[in-house]
Amino acid sequence: MRIPRRALAAAVVALVLPLSACGSGSDDSGSTDASGKVEGDITFQTWNLRANFKPYFEGLVADFEKKYPGTHVKWVDQPAEGYADKISADAAGGTLPDVVNVSPDLVAPLAKAGLALDLDKAAAKYKKEYLPGAWASHEIPGMEGTYAFPWYLNTGPLFYNKSLFKEAGLDASKPPKTYDELFDSALELADKSDGEVATLANVPTIEDFGRYGVELMNEEGTGFAFNDAKGVELLTKYKELFDAKALDPQALTATPESSGKKFLTGAVAMNPGSALDLGNFKKQAPNLYKNIGITDQITSTGKVNMYVMGVMVNARTKQKPAAVAFAHFVTDAQNQMSFAKKVAIFPSTAGSLDDPYFTEQDGTDETRVRIAAAKSLTNAVNYTPVLFSEQMKTELRNNVAKALQGKSSPKEALDNAVKACDRLLRQQG
């Protein structure tokens, strides 16, 4: 009887462990009034920023406490891996910090659960300080209000390996600018290298569909629509690339990290990135760095994709005035500019991108990339719908993979993905 008892215990633990972090919440959102004296203790949580920016954030906290005597900010940082799970556990357990670093897709469920403060009500006076598009990036379809201060933005160019282009007989000084050119070059490169060199390492994501000009959601935000003719056209093209090995054979299981590595090792000819990557190329792949080509993101819409980070205020914080003041302080023009000079990110505050730091060349590649990115941000779009959850991303990737493997047609695959995403959207409530 010793065996079954031990094994039973192991089975019980195995059963409950994956779910033990899950809990319940409630929809008690509390007041949105943030007026009053800025004082008291608050906690501020960032997303994997301590390792590289500890002095910056310690200075930021000290400045805030000096500006508002009687306040005390406890700064906590969480690792990148499992960040959403950490927030889920805190939100469910009622221990969500007062001010939280979030992305739009993380804000949506928190706002729906009444845990994110509506800043259109609580901090409307600050709205004009930010770029209109950035402020709107934390609006949730089907809900009134804005649920996080926009913080830093990021976008980047498309890097390409000039020597791989040259070896395939392509003109390395004329990288593809349109999707048609991209697909043609990719097929030629694969053909000339006997399938040894792929041009792309990732299957199309929701952002790629957006960049290609596909309508991602209906206007009401109640259903997905990326299975239209344009979406099918893009996936059909990718299928052609996959069959010709112009899309890496391991793309179906690729992650951004693995595709970055493939680009570093010369297995893939093009990869999206940011100014931050140039340093990595220099350090980890000097030969690649010597042959690096930099070109603009390819879009059919004329608008590049941007990533938005936000700072959310916990709707249930006991120190609402201090939490709102601190979230604004972190994201104000002066502090965003100061942060942008430490790392390759871009401020979301109005007028900041006109600073000479983002407009004047100094002859280096880093500055060239930074200026081009800042320029493109003036009309950039965060293509990923805020309601597009991790589970939906998985559904899209899996259905795209089926189409690329030939297990379903591009149309069937996208129909199935839309159906699954719509079901998940309904279940989100």
């Binding site: 779910l19 391991q250 409530g429």
Partner: protein, 270 residues
């Protein structure tokens, strides 16, 4: 015990009958989650893969460590080194081990380079759904060998040497002595190893997650049931109720597996 095992267990079973989500308390939905499971393609893929894992991994983990234990049991100079070497994968972090195997089996990794050199050509260990599952099974077996070898070594130490000597005198060769002396003597240990490894194999997560990626391989075809629990029930939009229903199925199958192994043992005893 109550807080860390009983409460989460009961809570999971209760949740399985609700539509609870991470941030939204659920309502009682009866058997709706279990009915949905029947029509969920990914659930059947998960069940298939977890079952295949048991079928592929358990026989290897019952037999190979026994052979290894017989090998390192001998008192040969330097054998302690091999005992330690075989045990090393057990103490190594599964994440590190998983990454090393990914590098080895990559399209341009060491294994494929060797295969190319000998003229076999590249094999898509990490891009073909079946090869991916097989690769993950190989890692599980490789990592588990040392652990079960130690269990077998303890059991073999209790096998009377006289039995072997008597069998040898009667003219039994090495294979015959293995089948008629060693195997009967360590049979209860083999049952234990079978039970432990089948539970571990059915709830496999790390190896497949690391090698096939968070989506569970191409088109999710390598997803296992525990991966599905993780994918469905975690995150801010996690469907805790539905994931709990899958967990209940994992629990029931795990218990059934153990009962099956024990029943087979009792039958042999009878």
């Amino acid at each position: 015990m109550g807080v860390f095992i009983l409460y989460p267990f009961v809570s999971t079973v209760v949740n399985a009958f609700t539509d609870r989500r991470t941030l939204i308390p659920g309502e009682f939905v009866g058997l709706a989650n279990f009915r949905e499971l029947l029509h969920d393609e990914m659930f059947w893929i998960g069940l298939r893969n977890s079952t295949l894992y048991v079928v592929g991994v358990v026989p290897a983990l019952v037999l190979l460590p026994l052979l290894l234990a017989l090998l390192v049991q001998k008192n040969i100079p330097g054998i302690a080194f091999f005992r330690s070497a075989f045990y090393t994968p057990v103490v190594a972090s599964i994440v590190v081990v998983g990454l090393i195997w990914v590098w080895l089996l990559d399209e341009r990794g060491l294994v494929n380079s060797l295969l190319e050199t000998v003229g076999v050509g590249r094999v898509g260990f990490l891009s073909d759904q079946w090869l991916l599952l097989l690769s993950a099974m190989t890692v599980t077996v490789w990592k588990g060998l040392g652990y079960y070898m130690i269990i077998y070594l303890a059991a073999l130490a209790n096998v009377p040497r006289e039995l072997h000597e008597a069998a040898a005198v009667d003219g039994a060769g090495a294979v015959r002595r293995f089948l008629t002396v060693t195997v009967p003597a360590v049979r209860s240990t083999m049952v234990l190893v079978g039970a432990l490894s089948s539970v571990a194999a059915f709830k496999v997560f790390s190896e497949v997650y690391l090698m096939a990626g968070p989506d569970g391989g191409p088109a999710g075809e390598d997803t296992t049931l525990v991966m599905l629990v993780q994918r469905t029930g975690t995150g801010l939009t996690g469907r805790v109720g539905y994931a709990s229903a899958i967990s209940v199925v994992v629990f029931v199958v795990t218990v059934a597996l153990m009962l099956l192994v024990l029943r087979a043992d009792r039958k042999e005893d009878a």
